[in-house]
Symmetry: C2
Subunit: 460 residues, 2 copies
């Protein structure tokens, strides 16, 4: 790939140089060769006052595409500097779903100006999209799509497509509706091209069409794209009327956002939607501290377990040295099981109804993992800890440690797989039931097992 | 969404019932109403001997689409049962990139039969795709795309598209090449539809086209889709000749695979590419045990640190009770930082050149997180542990614990953000430098800090 990142520095210098020398025509030619996403990314890296000037160099169409890719701060800066006619020009070029996204990010007075300068139809569409909840299919869709009637001929259909194509985000799929706007079927542009001019749309359309409701969770929408390989998905209201379509590029954005959220939750972070380097330290603190506090306080139980076995530890002091290893291994085992199950749930591979087979699998995996670890650990204790480090350790103590290891691993695997599935069943997010949470729980379990066996086998 | 999962059980029963009653025509009508991915998923759930019969009920085109969505085991079962002409029919309907994927999964004798029954052009294309390394753009691409010449008129272009459209995975974008097959530009079907019949392709095409090399890593390819909102991306060889295109549906599959791999690595699991419930327990064991063993052995250091401070612990036994809390909090803090940075790297938001600003940010976040946690902890120790649990704890001991907490959190944040960036710089996968690994490291650091302060402040 002609990699943009490799050329970034060079391009930035060229742009600054050309701006200084006022070589605007050459600069414009340079810019239009780039992808809009890359132009936006360069603009973000330039000193703030250069942006309005550079943006005005761009031709209408790429200008709108670049505008969409800019950060909200830069968009606001530009809008505040636009004359009404400039604002109108940009708005006319935007797809309405992008316009709605921008409106959502702007302060009230900017929103008012945007809506005042949008043409009435665009304004109506923006308001339509904005009325849906933030994470719904409705908020994700665009209201611009090609709709055909069943009675049209292929020739009529092409006329309609040609008339409206320039406003549409995609023309690869056209939707067939009746007078009441009810969705009847769809037609790919390929089918249209392969049909005769006088074929009738209702004869050649595909009547089995998968659609989503306006209130459907956007995560479900994204999953449908990955499962069915669609490039667009129609959105219908409660009466089955077609109100918009979601396109694959927006579905990909949702997938990335949801994955980031899942990963953050798995690491005990509250999800944020800003890039790392643009998040302030107090914001980062706010996202990280709640779970840290909660998990810290939960560790009190573990501490109290140790405190209550103080005498046992005083009698056989070397037992303390193996606490971190037992706790970490338990945490790692539980984390492996929970993360696997959480990912399976979010890919739709594992359901709550699989609970029994998941537990059964984890028990067996726990037994063989636990046995391997216990055996390796026994060898390590006898050869390394006893002979090399001269720790005061007997075969019985080693046995206590290794039996604890085996049982801890099995418990950790079971806890790790059950909690995410339970969370899912109870309507919570399974991703929260991951390593940090499970580690805290498994710590307590492993210590209880440890001291129970130590008391029994060592007679303390 | 008319949710398929809700109807699964009902559909399965209907299919079994209809199969038993031999109502094949009705069964076929029932099946063709469903999406290929859903049909395949139902077939996988039916008893094995039903598959060949049910598959043969499907019309040619959906049959091929269902075939692609089946698991390799079922595909093999079907191929072994096909007559040569049946096999030929399915192969003719497949897109070559799907055919190549199937060939890769089959045993040698099945591969031979497939290649013998494919028509010569398909065979050539399959072999072309198979010659590229597994994770490359070449292995992901299809060799079927619409290529136009610059000298063609729009009318010629449409003729060519109509002639070839039925074999193409996408016709939304057409590519313009010269006699030597060098990529010159692209044209969307929209532009073609909006142009006059006698417009010349080279005049209306977009000459700035982003392409990838055949050997480009497929993760980079997927990132280009998410960044630039493409529906297809051309693949060129070292001489700039267009050899294939990657379509957005395949890019989405790559994104999901790569995310799963990242998440598995973050949980100290070696990546596997099978769904959880289809993986045998020994396979799961093999994926999980290496890191568990390595991390368990690494915990030896932590154990030895404790062993060497045995006397201090014997003198002030209550210190032991706070080890788990300090270790867990350190691990959680390090995990938060590392996971955030790893995700930032894989989304292309953070580069090695950001190292200094990342460290500076994490130090500040570490200070305020650490201070909050230390303060909360001090309050908890004095109010809960001392007054409620009657732990024998002094203000000095509480101070030791809280100072350790603050310093551990700062160290954990820095270690957590530096290691993934270093790994990236050294060409390793940053995802490995995540919670489990960092926890083990931070454990040792936190214990060293703990005992150092305990010795100094408590005079032991």
């Amino acid at each position: 790939m002609v990699d943009f990142e490799d050329r970034r520095e060079e391009l930035l210098q060229e742009i600054e140089e050309m701006t200084r020398r006022k070589q605007y025509a050459a600069l414009r030619d340079k810019l239009v060769e780039l992808e809009p996403a890359d132009i936006a990314s360069l603009f973000e890296d330039l000193p703030g006052d250069a942006l309005p000037l550079l943006f005005r160099l761009l031709p209408k169409e790429p200008a709108a595409e670049v505008f969409v890719e800019l950060e909200p701060d830069s968009q606001e800066l530009l809008i505040r500097g636009f004359s009404n006619s400039e604002l109108k020009e940009v708005l006319d070029e935007l797809y309405v779903d992008d316009a709605a996204d921008i409106v959502e990010e702007m302060p009230a007075n900017v929103v008012k100006r945007i809506l005042r300068n949008a043409d009435p139809e665009t304004r109506k569409s923006i308001n339509e999209i904005l009325k849906y909840p933030e994470d719904s299919a409705g908020s994700l869709m665009t209201t611009e799509f090609v709709d055909l009637r069943g009675s049209m001929t292929v020739e009529d259909a092409f006329k309609r497509i040609r008339r409206t194509a320039s406003d549409m985000e995609t023309i690869s799929v056209c939707y067939v509706t009746d007078e009441g706007r009810h969705l009847l079927g769809y037609l790919s542009i390929r089918t249209l091209l392969l049909s005769e001019e006088d074929d009738v749309v209702s004869d050649i359309m595909e009547p089995n069409v998968i659609s989503v409701g306006t209130l459907e969770d956007k995560e479900e929408v994204a999953q449908a794209f990955s499962k069915y390989d669609f490039v667009a998905l129609p959105v219908v209201d409660a009466e089955g009327r077609l109100v918009g379509i979601v396109t694959v590029d927006d579905a990909i954005d949702v997938m990335e956002e949801e994955t980031t959220e899942d990963i953050e939750k798995m690491a005990a972070i509250l999800p944020t939607d800003k890039p790392y380097l643009k998040t302030g330290i107090w914001e980062t603190w706010k996202a990280r501290i709640p779970w840290l506090l909660l998990l810290m306080v939960s560790a009190t139980f573990t501490g109290q377990i140790i405190a209550s076995f103080e005498n046992a530890l005083a009698a056989v002091a070397i037992l303390t040295a193996y606490i971190p290893m037992l706790m970490d291994t338990g945490g790692n085992c539980g984390g492996q099981a929970s993360v696997t199950v959480i990912r399976g749930i979010s890919l739709g591979e594992i359901e709550f109804s699989d609970l029994v087979s998941v537990i059964w699998k984890e028990i067996r995996v726990g037994v063989i993992c636990g046995a391997t670890l216990a055996a390796a650990n026994f060898a390590k204790i006898m050869l390394l800890d006893r002979l090399v480090f001269h720790n005061p350790i007997t075969v019985t103590i080693a046995a206590v440690i290794c039996i604890t290891m085996l049982l801890t691993v099995i418990c950790a695997k079971v806890i790790g797989c059950v909690l995410p599935l339970l969370a899912k069943k109870l309507g919570f997010d399974p991703a929260v039931m991951s390593s940090p949470f499970i580690t805290t729980l498994v710590d307590a379990v492993s210590l209880l097992i440890y001291f129970r066996f130590a008391s029994a086998l060592l007679g303390i």
